[in-house]
Amino acid sequence: MSKAMIAAAALLLCCGVSHAEVNVDINGQRYSYTDNPRLAEVLKPHALQQNWYWSAAALYRTDTQRAEKLRQQLLALATELAQQSDDAQLRDSLALLQAQVNQWQLADRVNMRVDYDAATVVPALNPRFDTGSYRLVLQRRPNTVFVGGAVRREVSVPHLGASDVAAYTASIKMTPGADSEQLAIVQPDGRVIKAGISYFNRSNTEAMPGAQLLVLFTEPMLDQRFSTLNTLLQQLAVHRILP
C-alpha cells in the first residue's frame, strides 16, 4: 500500500514538473520556460550585457497580490487615522502619503540574492524558480536615492558618497507629524535599516545607491496605529519597483 502511494506521489511530482511554466520579464524582455529553471540559467542571457550592480538586482512575483494587499492595508489605516484626527495638518500629511503610495509600482519581491556570479558557484544562491510569473530588474549602479514617506513631495536626489544619511536631510521637506529624529532606509538589496539623524542619535549609516529613505510618522505613546502605519510603509517599500 505504502509503496503504491509513494509511486503515486512520485508520478504527481513528475507531472507537476512536466507541466510547469515559468514566465520571466527581464528588463522588458519576456522569457518562458517549460521546466523550472535555476536563477543562473535565467540570468545568463542578460548577465554580461552590462556591468550590472548586482546589489540592486531584484526579483518580483507578478502573479501574486501580497504587496497590493499591504498597500490597501496601509491606505485604509491612513484613512482611518485621518478621519479620527482633529489635526488638519496631520490629515494633509496622511493624504500626501496616500497619494504617494497610490503611485508606487508594486510587485511581490522575492527575498533572495540575485547575483549571476555567485549563483554560478554557490548552489544555495542558485535556486529553481517555482512555477509562476516573475519580473527581474537589473540595473547599473544607480546614482540617486529616493526620499518618501512623511514628506511634502517624493523626490530623487543624487546619491552622496561616503555620507551618513543625515546628510540628506537638507533635501527633505517633512510634513507635520513626521519623525525628524530617524529615517528608515530600504536598501536596494531589500534590507530595511533604521538610522538616527538627530545630533544625539546619529548612527553613521550610509544609503546604498538606489536606496529609499523613508520619513516615518511620529509614534504617539497612546496610539499604536502610527507604529503600524510606519511598519506597513517600510514593508511596502521593499516591494516597490523604482522608476
Binding site: 509513494i6 555567485a118 554560478t120 558557484v121 546619491h159 561616503a162 551618513d164 550610509e206 546604498m208
Partner: protein
C-alpha cells in the same frame, strides 16, 4: 505516509540541487585549495601545467596561500574561484569585485581608465580616480591613485628568475570616512614580465583597512618558463 512523501520530495530537491555542480569544484576539492586551509599550497611546475584550468595563488592577509581556478573569462573579466566558493573578479589584473569574503567589494567605477591596463603608457603625473562600494555599508568612497615604474625587478619561481617591471600604485582615500581611521593612504604592487608584458604577480589592498591580497599567476608563470624545468615553487 506523510513521512515517505516528505523523504521523496526531499530527495528530489537534493538531486536537483546537486545536479549542476561545476567540474572546477571537483578539481579544487581534490586539491583542497580553500582559504580555510592551514597550509600553503605549493605545486610543482608539472602539476601547475597539468591543471585543467589556470591557477592563481592567493594569500589573503596572514592566511595560508590558497589556489583559485579560473572559472570564466567573460566580458573582459577574469573570474577566479576558490574551493570554498570565494570569488575574485578582475579586469586586467585589477580586483573590481569580490564575493564570499568578510567585507566584499561590490563595485569599482571608472575601471576603463585604470592605468594598470596599459602599464607601458603610465604617466607618473596623472591620477586615476574611482568610487568603491563595500558590503559592510560604505558606498561611494573616492580612491585616488598615482603610479611609478621600476624596471628590472627580478622574481624567482620554480628555481628560475623572471625579469619584471614593477608598477607601484600609491593610493589614498579622499573621502572622509564615517568610521574612525588612522591611515588613509597605502600602496599596491604589480609585477609584469618584462619580455611579454604579462602580469605575473600583484599585491592589492582594496581599502586602507582591508587585508591585502597577494596574487601570483602561477599558470602564466609556468607558461613563461622553459619546459625543461621541474620542481617546487619558490613562492
Amino acid at each position: 505516509m506523510k513521512t515517505a512523501i516528505k523523504q521523496l520530495i526531499g530527495g528530489s530537491i537534493l538531486l536537483a540541487l546537486t545536479g549542476c555542480a561545476g567540474t572546477y569544484h571537483s578539481y579544487l576539492d581534490t586539491l583542497k585549495l580553500a582559504f580555510s586551509s592551514n597550509d600553503d599550497v605549493n605545486l610543482s611546475l608539472q602539476q601547475v601545467k597539468a591543471a585543467p584550468s589556470d591557477l592563481l595563488y592567493v594569500r589573503h592577509g596572514e592566511r595560508a596561500v590558497a589556489a583559485m581556478a579560473l572559472l570564466r573569462l567573460e566580458a573582459g573579466q577574469h573570474k577566479w574561484v576558490s574551493a570554498d566558493n570565494a570569488l575574485l573578479i578582475m579586469e586586467q589584473g585589477r580586483v573590481v569585485r569580490t564575493a564570499g569574503f568578510e567585507n566584499d567589494l561590490l563595485y569599482v567605477s571608472n575601471t576603463q581608465n585604470d592605468q594598470i591596463r596599459d602599464y607601458k603608457t603610465i604617466n607618473p603625473a596623472s591620477e586615476w580616480l574611482r568610487l568603491a562600494d563595500w558590503q559592510n555599508g560604505e558606498y561611494g568612497y573616492l580612491i585616488k591613485s598615482r603610479f611609478t615604474v621600476q624596471a628590472n625587478q627580478s622574481l624567482s619561481f620554480f628555481g628560475q628568475s623572471i625579469n619584471t617591471t614593477l608598477i607601484t600604485e600609491q593610493l589614498s582615500y579622499d573621502s572622509d570616512s564615517n568610521f574612525i581611521r588612522f591611515d588613509n593612504s597605502w600602496h599596491n604592487s604589480f609585477w609584469f614580465d618584462s619580455a611579454s608584458g604579462t602580469l605575473i604577480k600583484s599585491v592589492q589592498q582594496l581599502s586602507p583597512v582591508a587585508e591585502p591580497f597577494e596574487m601570483t599567476y602561477i599558470s602564466r608563470i609556468a607558461r613563461l618558463l622553459p619546459a625543461v624545468t621541474t620542481g617546487a615553487s619558490d613562492e
